[in-house]
């Protein structure tokens, strides 16, 4: 079997994406024909869960994907060497909001009251990392809340709104939707001075070797698309609603986020995530920055602390 993306010359790439706002510039680039213009043949493969997306990367059905640092380290640990080529979201603290939301009518209104309350998360993922760090930042011991594994976001939202979870950690736009439905935001990662939830673009090492020029072009296209979105959000509103799966109730009010130009994640970020993973026994030992990040494609980012 030929590995995915091979065949039609070097210029083709297959990317696994979950259709959420994080990945919106890719959809814009596709719509505007920017890939073709750059002489690239990019196929955006939609996935509905991170689990299936990672399986497909392992199976070499896709060359790369938009993921997070936790997933990157786990893929490498699981025997699929991958590297981050760039951040796509989370370069600044205001990008990519995650919020700990209490259910409508909950008595919990301040972080101190979280002790013993149930909290819907997705275990062993970036979500749990964000949750732990948010709690620690607010001075709450993460072990003192009762974590409930609810891997899929829509289900977490429903259980929260249905009152079966006291609190839940949700990314936007679901956090906004929960708020709109009467949920109360307890903690918010855009309100602290550090972005916990960074989205990264990763590729398998062999793809990086074989298709370095294509990846470079892809990142240029991404930068262009990110610029387009940030400068004229109204033009892409329709596309945003459909491709980023904006909940029906928010489609008139919810604004698309701003996207920074491509840059690699900061060393402290990579180290901090891995420190958490080692403490959780998800990793035996942290990887070095160079093992996880390939800085040859885009300029280094600033530390966003």
């Amino acid at each position: 079997k030929a590995p995915a993306g091979k065949g039609k010359g070097e210029e083709s790439l297959k990317l696994g994406l979950i259709p959420v706002e994080d990945n919106f510039p890719f959809f814009v680039a596709e719509q505007e024909g920017l890939f073709a213009k750059a002489g690239l043949k990019v196929e955006l493969v939609p996935f509905n869960s991170a689990r299936d997306r990672d399986l497909a990367l392992q199976a070499k059905n896709i060359d790369g994907e938009a993921a997070d640092i936790v997933a990157t380290a786990l893929l490498r640990k699981g025997g699929t060497p991958v590297k981050i080529v760039s951040l796509t979201m989370g370069a600044t603290p205001s990008e990519g909001r995650f919020a700990l939301v209490a259910r409508p009518g909950s008595a919990v209104s301040r972080p101190e009251q979280l002790k013993g309350a149930t909290m819907g998360i997705s275990e062993n993922t970036i979500i749990e990392y964000v949750a732990d760090r948010l709690l620690q930042g607010a001075g709450v011991e993460p072990g003192s809340v009762q974590k409930v594994a609810v891997p899929q976001i829509p289900e977490r939202l429903q259980l929260l709104l249905g009152g079966r979870l006291e609190t839940a950690l949700l990314p936007d736009p679901f956090a906004t939707l929960a708020e709109k439905k009467g949920g109360r935001v307890i903690l918010d990662d855009t309100k602290i001075n550090r972005n916990l939830s960074q989205v990264v673009l990763i590729f398998r090492e062999e793809t990086i070797k074989e298709k370095a020029t294509a990846i470079k072009k892809l990142l240029q296209v991404y930068a262009e698309a990110a610029g387009l979105v940030s400068s004229q959000p109204d033009k892409y509103r329709e596309l945003f609603i459909t491709r980023a799966r904006i909940p029906a109730e928010l489609k008139d009010t919810y604004l698309s986020p701003k996207f920074s130009p491509p840059q690699v994640p900061g060393k402290t970020e990579v180290a901090d995530v891995q420190e958490w993973m080692v403490a959780k026994k998800l990793l035996p030992a942290a990887y070095s920055y160079e093992e996880l990040v390939d800085p040859t494609f885009v300029p280094g980012g600033r530390e966003n602390k």
């Binding site: 079997k1 995915a4 696994g16 259709p19 493969v45 939609p46 996935f47 509905n48 869960s49 689990r51 299936d52 997306r53 399986l55 497909a56 392992q58 199976a59 070499k60 059905n61 976001i153 829509p154 939202l157 429903q158 709104l161 249905g162 679901f174 939707l177 799966r245 904006i246 909940p247 029906a248 109730e249």
Partner: protein, 248 residues
């Protein structure tokens, strides 16, 4: 007369179902479960050309994998039912593999078949092939010895015995198995369509769920239930044609 009474029963039953749904919806009063009327309304309003495309793709996947499973499981099941030695070999395979969660097989399927239709149909196939196999085998075991002897005495060879006795004797059970598999196939279809890609009713429903657009979601669910019902009616018709002696 009997036919019209049956049609009435059908309609009554559907009405009953919808009132039940309505009651539950009113009772739990959760946006995740709209009542039947809003759901029907959104079924009407939804982008039909698009829904039809998803419906077509899903139907194709279900029927394709059902056909494949029948082609493979029926002969194996008949054979295992009549040959205990072969069954002793096959049964543990089935019993061990049937409960294995299909995620375990997903990596294999993805490596071998990619993330297209083939993987989806394989996952459906793997579930229902076991169901058809088990039912067919159990039916073949029960064939009265007398009938086999009677046809053997006419000089029938192995193949004729299968064609004239074993297959028709098990046909009603094979149709039962198809009924069950049809339901399972649709359930698994839903799961397999949520893995990757953007086609099929499963995707449509999940998309609705992600958008918290429960109207669209239930339009998809209704379409899926409708697809199931139509396929069931076709299966009943097939039974009518294939098993005339059952109608006496």
């Amino acid at each position: 007369m009997r036919d019209s009474r049956q049609a009435l029963s059908y309609i009554l039953s559907i009405l009953f179902l919808f009132s039940l749904w309505w009651l539950v919806a009113v009772w739990i009063n959760n946006p995740g479960l709209p009542g039947p009327l809003p759901a029907l309304r959104s079924l009407v309003k939804v982008g039909w050309p698009e829904l039809a495309r998803h419906l077509y793709i899903s139907t194709y996947r279900v029927l394709g994998s059902l056909a494949l499973a029948l082609i493979i499981a029926v002969p194996l099941g008949l054979w295992a039912g009549r040959h205990p030695a072969f069954d002793s070999f096959l049964a543990p395979l089935v019993y061990l593999l049937y409960p294995v969660p299909k995620v375990a097989l997903l990596p294999v399927a993805m490596v071998l078949l990619g993330i297209g239709d083939a993987t989806r149909m394989l996952v459906i196939f793997l579930v229902i092939v076991n169901q058809i196999l088990i039912t067919t085998r159990d039916a073949a075991r029960q064939i009265p010895h007398q009938l086999l002897l009677s046809v053997a005495s006419l000089g029938a060879g192995k193949i004729s015995l299968y064609r004239q006795v074993i297959l028709p004797a098990c046909l009603p059970e094979i149709i039962t198995a198809s009924r069950i598999s049809l339901g399972s196939a649709i359930s698994v279809l839903f799961l397999s369509e949520t893995i990757a890609g953007n086609s099929g009713l499963g995707y449509f429903i999940l998309d609705g769920l992600f958008r918290a657009d429960y109207g669209a979601m239930f339009a998809g669910i209704l379409a899926m239930a409708g697809m199931g019902l139509v396929l069931y009616i076709l299966l009943n018709f097939l039974e009518y044609l294939l098993c005339p002696w059952q109608r006496l």
